[in-house]
Symmetry: C2
Subunit: 524 residues, 2 copies
């Protein structure tokens, strides 16, 4: 034995492991590409969520938020109706600023459901949002893509559809998402129609609606009604949409318009302070959490003024800021703490919670991208996020959707699903028979327990390369993103469009055409 | 506003952030390279460790381990003395197999200290091992390096010293480690002398001893005595060394020889089952934990037979195995669960715990390497690891020490340190004055609270690039590992050898020369 005892042991394990291998490199590669992950509509976590705030810290932050909501208040801009609704609900409205008596928002939030089902057109894909469930949704918002050639360019509707198809094919992806990239080749006032249609047509997973204008939210609801039926939509959630607060302490008219439209249609919004910490909130975690609490609870409460009992998700999105360059930084420790702290408050208020995702400031799907993405995914999983937007494909601070990174992230989501399952304590998992059978100094590769369990025993990545150096060299010395690129290609080759009722399809297309014909193109 | 609301907000934050920026790209780059992290001798975690096993699961596994320790037992091979010691202690010894009456090991382990200090030659670098403390130590064992040119080759003593220097320069690295790579240019029976000397000479952080033969452990103790004084070494821990179990259920004579030498000299060993799950343990987490418990508690108890009260660390190292290729897989969910479960048992027995590290099977410091490393670092930090071997520089399943990855990992360790600090709830951190001052619709960049706090507010990576795409393009489109490479160079340029008493230095060199002259080179 050398000083490299572990190394020696490791090599030994690898060698003996190989005895069990069959087929050549290409067979193994194929097996990996084809590997079937356990495809679940959503994750039901077995682990208890991890708390980062003490009971005392919770009290302090909540009390501080109460003070600020009364004293500083939240601006509801460009929406007279919202101001009137708040006045009628008992708030003190001065100009466009709403001052909340202590406890008003918490009281109003009580009618919001702790969990709800978002229905997909394929019922097997419907997701349960809230409680111990986690739903993964793709990246949202980038105007650029890095496509198959790695080139960075403005996104098109074709890229949008490619991302919808990849999300449809990904066993670990539960949701089709919303603006998986901005289809910049279509007029701003018309692209929501093509986006919503693409989700309906090319996937059967649940999806998100447009929020960029109240009439676009209305279009989304109408298209959902064509798909699900008017009555069904009024009684069930089929849309989850993203309503960002304009931090600090402001809800703007555009977002309020969308929020009102969806809430009144009994559809869910995610009320999310969007915060670059240090610019849009204080430079501290406790201060940021206080502000998040003011903004999110005010918005969630407002959804209940629109329609009591309508589904809503409390959200937060936080980054830190580089004080050298002014750029936002992702995957740093402080946003992880904000995320977990905010999740704790959502649990306190019995609200579903949105945050997390595979966030990064990296320009390429390199090691920075992976470290930073993992540094958001871990707090999000352990903190107990219910709806995880941006869980795959995000690059460059959200400016870019990357096909390669989408595949890489989905692999991590599948691993996170396995971790969240917790530790199996069944008699089979206790494996007493195996340890008795094998005994000291032997190995477990051939034993009966291993034979019976090996297929589902360990998570097998479809992207990672764990072969020997020599094998990896023979196969072309690929980096992780290059292997992901191949997988993306193979998924698209295998992609088959999920059947859609032709009558519904025709009606949707007619609706879109009429809408488009009714107005000139607008590009802002 | 477009559908990319977050994107818009993000761009806004970035733009306004830039107002605060000063100097050009090179100034910023310089500032980042120079950025002083808070250099602490070790981390005192503020977060409570996370449990993954229920009280019931703990009972089941402990009970199963008790049954197996009695029924199957543990082989103590090639060590008659050890067998006699166990017999005298009340175990049932049959051949070289030791059967433990229920509770014997747990009883013996009670004399092991829950925490202890490992002294460094610079007292400011001494570390506290156990409790809520975490000590980071470098990669251990690789026969290969990837040096500055990225080339993969057999490691030399020069590479060894380079890694010692990088560990010395890294603010987040608390320990100089042991076999940071195998100096393959020196005879196997002599290299331990050069390794121990290199740690003493080129660093003033604490270090590890040789375990590859009892006489090499003795040499290590002698060299430590020259450095610290005989009396001091007998009364204090100055060495932590790695004693791997030969899983399943075997302690071999070489490791036992080292363990006895160190324990009798009052020096710490890490008793670590080294497990490729599915090959050296059952394919299940619960089964692996049961075996880990048998092996680790037997070894820890044996250290207390050697010298009651001597410091010892319970350890575990686990990977999963790819059932397609037989290769070990790193950063997968199951080893993370084993790690956190074993940590829970160490807490139950009041023992310091070793595990974790930035493990990966990747051949390059790419996204695979980063995802997998983060997937070990997170469970290790949240699980409450006290001594984290392999925390930086590990590549290719432990076959390679990488300079670039060492830098990349150290950046992550520094971030983990910040996360582990928990959430500051001081009045300053509550930031009420800031939120009052700024109010709705403005920004925090210029406010007094930000000015007072921005320098320490957020963790600033020295490797990540969060600049704009355009800036990154101008600076050469570097990947994360390329930036790390530059930092490694700059650290070595700034490196200054820490002063060592010339008398001690001479004595050490003389001892080494005499030892080397006393035997022919051996290469196994």
């Amino acid at each position: 034995m050398t000083d490299a005892t572990e190394q020696e042991n490791g090599t030994e394990g690898r060698r003996s492991g190989r005895r069990g291998a069959s087929g050549g490199a290409s067979a193994r590669r194929q097996a990996r590409t084809d590997a079937k992950l356990e495809s679940l509509p959503y994750i039901h976590r077995q682990l208890e969520p991890m708390d980062v705030l003490s009971a005392e810290a919770i009290e302090i932050i909540e009390n501080n938020a109460d003070i600020l909501m009364e004293e500083v208040g939240v601006v509801y801009s460009d929406d007279e109706e919202a101001l009137k609704m708040w006045k009628d609900a008992g708030a003190d409205v001065k100009g466009d600023r709403v001052h909340f008596p202590k406890g008003l928002c918490r009281e109003l939030m009580k009618t919001a459901p702790p969990t709800f089902t978002q229905h997909a057109r394929n019922p097997a894909r419907s997701v349960e949002i809230g409680g111990k469930n986690t739903v993964f949704a793709p990246v949202y918002g980038p105007p650029f893509v890095r496509g198959f050639d790695g080139e960075r360019r403005y996104a098109t509707i074709e890229d949008f559809q490619t991302l919808v198809k990849l999300a449809y094919m990904a066993p670990a992806m539960h949701h089709s998402g919303g603006t998986v990239c901005e289809p910049c080749d279509i007029a701003v006032n018309k692209r929501h129609l093509d986006m919503v249609y693409s989700h309906i047509k090319y996937s059967d997973k649940p999806f998100m609606g447009s929020v960029t204008a109240p009439e676009r939210a209305e279009d989304t609801v109408k298209m959902a009604q064509m798909l699900f039926g008017e009555e069904f939509v009024d009684q069930n959630c089929v849309l989850v949409s993203l309503v960002n607060c304009n931090s600090p302490m402001t809800m703007d008219g555009t977002m309020l318009g969308a929020l009102k439209t969806y809430a009144r249609a009994n559809q869910a919004s995610i009320v999310s302070p969007f915060i670059v910490g240090g610019a849009m909130s204080p430079v501290t975690v406790a201060g940021t959490l206080t502000q998040v609490l003011c903004e999110a609870t005010s918005g969630v409460a407002f959804s209940q003024l629109c329609r009591p009992g309508s589904p809503v998700i409390m959200g937060t999105f936080a980054t830190s800021i580089s004080m050298q360059s002014g750029a936002p930084a992702f995957g740093t420790p402080e946003p992880g703490q904000v995320l977990m702290g905010a999740a704790q408050f959502a649990r306190r208020y019995n609200l579903p919670f949105r945050s997390g995702g595979s966030l990064t400031g990296a320009k390429l799907p390199d090691a920075q991208a992976a470290y930073e993405s993992a540094n958001t995914l871990w707090p999000a999983m352990l903190g107990g996020v219910n709806f995880m937007l941006h869980s795959a494909g995000w690059l460059e601070g959200g400016l870019v959707s990357s096909f390669d990174k989408f595949i890489m992230d989905c692999d991590q989501l599948a691993a996170a699903q396995k971790f969240a399952n917790g530790i199996d304590m069944s008699e089979n998992a206790q494996a007493m028979s195996a340890i008795r059978e094998v005994g000291p100094g032997s190995h477990y590769l051939g034993c009966e327990h291993t034979q019976n369990n090996f297929k589902t025993a360990f998570y097998a990545s479809n992207v990672a390369d764990n072969n020997s150096f020599e094998q990896w060299e023979i196969e072309g010395k690929l980096q992780n993103d290059q292997r992901a690129n191949k997988i993306a290609h193979s998924w698209l080759e295998k992609y088959e469009i999920p059947a859609l009722d032709p009558g519904v399809d025709d009606a949707l297309q007619e609706f879109i055409q009429n809408k488009k014909d009714s107005m000139p193109d607008a590009f802002t």
